[in-house]
């Protein structure tokens, strides 16, 4: 298994990454990647500027993470800190969609939509415009430092930093009113924390998309590892059709063999698929961790196949199952509907419906009741028993509201509060300012000389005096 040999020098402590020089490519998948790239970047830069009218007391930005007031706004949705669990649902949904897309089309997320892919593509585009294509860049790297090389390098890094700055700049716009913050940034009056985060994200964008690139996918990202465990033989992956391509040989040799009526492989070993690969892998070695399945090798190979007058799609979206079937001389079978995809789709539907229901049935008011524990009950001077409760009302709308509080379940119960005001019918009324909560101590007392049982269930009901929206909470009334 092993060959023994001794080396004097242990070598460096690190393995120098082999620099990848992806070559320019044209074709279907390249076009799809450009479209996805411009849509993704467009959404990223335009979203913070979209306005959404929520009334006079609330921010008018469609998507806003308001840290100072602990609110999250997304178009018609406004989340309070206690509703952060909605994000759990969103994360579950995102994971399931990733699983489903993986079961159907392999790593489409990695290849087309992942921010690492989008920004790396953008940075590569800039690099290619300034330093030229693959060969020019390899040459430039090896060339001595001339004025031209320095000029090109300065231009490239300046352009990268500028894009990175815009990336970081757009990110902070999601956390403040975008037009205001943009004006502050342009006039150097932005708050320090905004500038700090802009700086951090500028640095991460510049280093991740400019310098680390495929290393992020290879070393930092957990998804390739998870993906490897989730895939199956029916998933469509970017595949080298080895059954058609092997044995590799030159065009001339293949022509010679074919003229004898024998079978020859279509792969001419031109290495174009490796040259265009943004992660520098050889797809002909099969599905592998480094392959983000962007399909650029398909475009490259198709161009070569057209030139040598062989059918295209020697590299294509195909399944392991079909590879095996063709080897056995059977027909291709594409099974998009199978237990795995049905399960994922069903889970997505269930999670989505639960979340939609939760969002739609969400109340714009809330009341929590906490029984005062010390003392659990107290005698009143009139000879009755009194219990204390701490109520907290939330008004999750942009208008001030009046809630009427009533209590049921205890005969002749009388409510008092220093915060809420009494009404003629024995109820209390409490005024809640827009988009705020109010803690309200409320006491419930029995009539003079009445002592109820040890524990009596009682129901607090808050009703919006205007809309009639109501919320009821059951608690208990304790007595000696």
């Amino acid at each position: 298994m092993t060959i023994d040999f001794t080396i004097e020098d242990d070598g460096p402590l690190y393995a120098a990454a082999k620099k990848v020089y992806p070559q320019r490519v044209w074709g279907t998948y390249r076009r799809i990647k450009w479209i996805v790239l411009w849509i993704a970047l467009g959404v990223y830069y335009i979203l913070p500027f979209i306005r959404w009218n929520r009334g006079p007391n609330e921010p008018g930005q469609a998507v806003l993470v308001d840290m100072a007031h602990s609110r999250f706004y997304f178009f018609f949705i406004e989340l309070w800190p206690q509703e952060v669990y909605y994000f759990t649902g969103l994360l579950i949904l995102a994971a399931l969609i990733l699983f489903l897309s993986n079961a159907l089309f392999g790593r489409v997320w990695c290849g087309y939509a992942c921010p690492q892919t989008v920004w790396t593509d953008l940075f590569l585009f800039v690099e290619r415009r300034i330093e030229g294509d693959r060969r020019d860049r390899i040459k430039l790297d090896e060339a001595p430092w001339t004025a031209d090389k320095i000029k090109k390098r300065v231009m490239k890094h300046a352009a990268w930093l500028l894009i990175a700055l815009f990336t970081g700049g757009a990110a902070v716009l999601y956390f403040e009113d975008a037009p205001t913050l943009l004006k502050q940034l342009l006039t150097f009056q932005a708050p320090f924390v905004a500038v700090l985060w802009m700086g951090i994200l500028t640095f991460t964008t510049y280093s991740l998309a400019g310098h680390m690139r495929e290393q992020v996918c290879l070393y930092m990202c957990p998804w390739p590892r998870i993906q490897a465990a989730l895939t199956d033989t029916d998933a469509l992956n970017v595949t080298y059709r080895a059954d058609r391509g092997e044995p590799r040989m030159s065009v001339k040799e293949a022509a010679k063999i074919r003229s004898h009526g024998e079978a020859a492989g279509d792969c001419i070993d031109c290495m174009q698929c490796v040259a265009v690969c943004p992660t520098g892998v050889d797809i002909r070695n099969g599905s592998q961790l480094g392959c983000i399945q962007c399909g650029l090798c398909i475009d490259a190979c198709d161009a070569v196949m057209a030139k040598v007058h062989r059918p295209t799609r020697l590299i294509a979206y195909d399944t392991d199952e079909n590879l095996a079937r063709r080897k056995r001389g059977e027909q291709n079978v594409y099974r998009l509907v199978r237990p795995r995809t049905i399960l994922y789709a069903a889970l997505i539907a269930v999670t989505g419906c639960v979340m939609l229901y939760a969002l739609l049935s969400r109340s714009s008011m809330n009341m929590s009741v906490l029984h005062v524990r010390a003392p659990l009950f107290t005698p009143t001077v009139e000879g009755g028993v009194r219990n204390g409760y701490t109520l907290r009302f939330s008004n999750e709308t942009g208008e001030a509201r009046d809630f009427t509080l009533s209590v049921a379940g205890l005969d002749g119960a009388r409510m008092t509060s220093v915060v809420a005001r009494p009404l003629a019918n024995g109820s209390l009324t409490v005024h809640i300012e827009p988009d705020t909560t109010l803690e309200t101590p409320v006491y419930v007392a029995t009539p003079p000389d009445v002592t109820p049982g040890k524990s009596t269930p009682i129901t607090f009901t808050a009703t919006d005096a205007h809309t009639g929206e109501r919320k009821s909470v059951v608690d208990h009334f304790f007595a000696p």
Partner: protein
């Protein structure tokens, strides 16, 4: 380190580290360069940290570090900062009168929160965490007030205390009727049984309650009132309710009348700032304040 020769693994084509366990050789898969640099960076960071911050343990303490950082000083700074922030909020409480604060929901919310904290720090040891009191220490939630339950009365009581070291403190003294020989034990028995009837409690059988009523009118009514409803001006408790600071049993009553109680409360005006007292007043009033 094993001295085994470095080898090339045939299958993967990688060199081995020369380490071997039970015939299994470890492949040499070095770190990426940037990773190694990050590792060196953390070492450099640690060295800088040792110089700037307290780091290496010595016999008593540790190397101080150039920045002179201590956690204790940081906590002190944080406390000072939070105190300053609190004072800023408290400015609103300082200007407004008690009635004005009670009428303003935002100020009231602030006062109640601040009052609750101050109550826990200063009052809870005697009056209980929720103001429920205990034997000898008044229950503040029951709506019965020895010295009055309005905002101003509560404010006065907290500021100046009861029988405290303060010129404006509440003073009054119930005579020790038994100890000082004002009433005979027999008379005390009669009057305490009469007092129990005021609170609709049963008197002991065979005791002359009518005689007790006469004794009450002669000795007690001047402070506790003809009807026994008390007088907040003198801190004389209302005797007609079921709430008894020192108990309503015959034994307790005998003790109270024979020796008198005259308990005390400190004058908090000397210990707490005016804003805290304001907040405390509003909080205590919210527990069951009367008029």
């Amino acid at each position: 380190m094993s001295t085994d020769p470095v080898q090339v693994d045939k299958i993967s084509g990688q060199t081995t580290t020369g380490h071997e366990w039970d015939g299994i050789r470890e492949l040499n898969t070095p770190l990426p360069r940037w990773w190694l640099w990050l590792f060196y960076l953390t070492i450099a960071f640690a060295v800088v940290y040792w110089v700037l911050y307290p780091a290496w343990p010595l016999v008593t303490g540790a190397t101080p570090g150039l920045l002179g950082h201590t956690n204790r000083a940081r906590v002190a700074d944080d406390l000072a900062a939070s105190q300053a922030a609190r004072m800023q909020q408290a400015a609103g409480l300082e200007k407004a009168s008690l009635a004005e604060i009670e009428a303003d929901p935002k100020l009231l919310e602030l006062a109640l929160a601040q009052g609750k904290a101050a109550f826990g720090d200063n009052c809870a040891p005697c009056h209980g965490s929720g103001g429920q009191g205990q034997y000898g220490y008044p229950n503040l939630t029951a709506g019965r007030w020895l010295w009055g339950g309005t905002l101003d009365q509560i404010d006065t009581t907290i500021t100046h205390g009861i029988r405290a070291d303060d010129p404006d403190t509440h003073t009054s003294a119930m005579p020790a009727f038994g100890k000082d020989g004002i009433l005979k034990p027999e008379q005390i028995k009669q009057v305490e049984n009469y007092v129990r009837t005021l609170a609709k409690l049963d008197p002991e059988p065979g005791v002359d309650v009518a005689a007790g009523k006469k004794i009450f009118a002669d000795n007690c009514a001047v402070c506790h009132g003809e009807d026994g409803k008390g007088n907040v001006e003198m801190g004389a408790p209302n005797l007609t309710t079921k709430i008894w600071l020192y108990g309503s049993d015959i034994k307790d009553l005998t003790n109270t009348i024979t020796y008198a109680r005259n308990s005390t409360m400190p004058a908090w005006g000397k210990r707490l700032d005016p804003v805290t007292i304001k907040a405390l007043t509003l909080y205590v009033h919210s527990l069951g304040g009367g008029t």
